[in-house]
Symmetry: D2
Subunit: 140 residues, 4 copies
């Protein structure tokens, strides 16, 4: 599991006084930063030549309103590792409450050839160190 | 169906030279503006006292890369009208190609009482004028 | 002068019910799109190899509150053409009122060499066709 | 001085591989969070009834390119306290280098009456505890 703590900025709240749905897309993307380190050496600036991932799906369930003035903890796991893709699962917690959850499906991709490719074994192994527990609630 | 044409701004593209996934959340939200007119008189500034909608789910499928320099057409339909909620379906087209699609599930909600409520009949009727065709491809 | 009409999205308003200051940065960036066509052929995807501009300054004056539900017209001029840079001037109008104005100073830049360079004569000439009127109010 | 450490998210970089200028507006807004605690009790959700500040000016100088993969430290001071407004000064540092700086001018404002008002003495005093050093470089 990866954890990142986000402090809402003033503009994350919309006219209803709660955090706008789009902020979850921003925060979950931020929470995926550690995954990039698995695929691109940390010193490199990502570009089409060295970054082998493309996003094909995201979803978000908004379970409870979030507000300004309290930090939000984003917890991130790998939910599934497929042949050419993997699924990331996120949860957003504020004040001890699960407020949002969602997924991102990311494909291993060659931007030069413009096609997907099998996930290399070493990457699969690194991803598998962060799997979502399948049974019960261990550590969640 | 509602249609809005979006011009990508420079920062909508990320380090991979294509439109970042978060922009779809921004564009689909923009595309829902006409729906708000059904629920709040156009002259009113939305706030917790007069705006009766809350977002409970969004999802996005990224089907093809989008780029700067060409406009994107967002087409929006109502996919389903439930008892207390409705589902919006969006498509993003660039250069004649369907590049992304997604949904938003929106609940009729009383922010004062903090609970959902049945969709009023007149709102259901206005929404039903924009239903996604169920059979074949009429008008899509 | 370039003009672009922007429709605020729901999340452009913050907890105070007015358009958040950051939206102006997004909208003015969008308004500079036509300038890019002067520097990069429209069919090209911008990258460090073909895009010769870098931002060195932006400023924003917020003169009146803007709100959801009404479109905003962004008017853009060239205010100054220097040796290696030029200054863009923007105005945001809503409901017949000047609500914000601001500037962007952009340097002609070689990302490979990581240094600025003199603005080529043909680019200067194209920019000069969009100058802010210096005296009086012609066309503004 | 207030300090906040920001981790760039993937989409903060634009097609040039560097952090887009708009991210600075987002990050500096985030860095002003501690100032709000001076004006609104931390437990309150800000709205037009209890939040007494309005933004009238922001500016940004981009001094060096910033990139993904390294954190950015935002340092914030009060530069000036006027009769009805105050000026905030921000610096963004990445990898030991000052990469951007900027200001925000914020007016003490009554949203009900839609007019500015003198900064109360207790607020002035709290702000004055975070003044930018005027002479030399003490602590910067």
């Amino acid at each position: 599991m990866f954890t990142v703590t986000v402090t809402p900025r003033f503009g994350d709240a919309d006219a209803l006084g709660h955090i706008n749905n789009v902020s979850m897309a921003l925060w979950f993307e931020l929470a995926r930063n550690p995954l990039f380190d698995i695929f691109v050496p940390p010193a490199k600036i990502p570009d089409r030549g060295n970054f082998p991932l493309i996003m094909v799906h995201t979803d978000y369930d908004y379970l409870a309103q979030m507000y300004l003035r309290s930090v939000v903890e984003i917890k991130t796991w790998i939910e599934k590792i497929g042949n050419k893709s993997f699924t990331v699962y996120h949860e957003a917690w504020q004040s001890g409450r699960l407020c949002a959850k969602g997924r991102a499906v990311i494909v291993y991709y060659d931007f030069g050839a413009e096609k997907s490719a099998p996930l290399p074994g070493d990457k699969r192994e690194l991803l598998s160190g962060h799997m979502l527990p399948q049974e019960g609630d261990f550590g969640r």
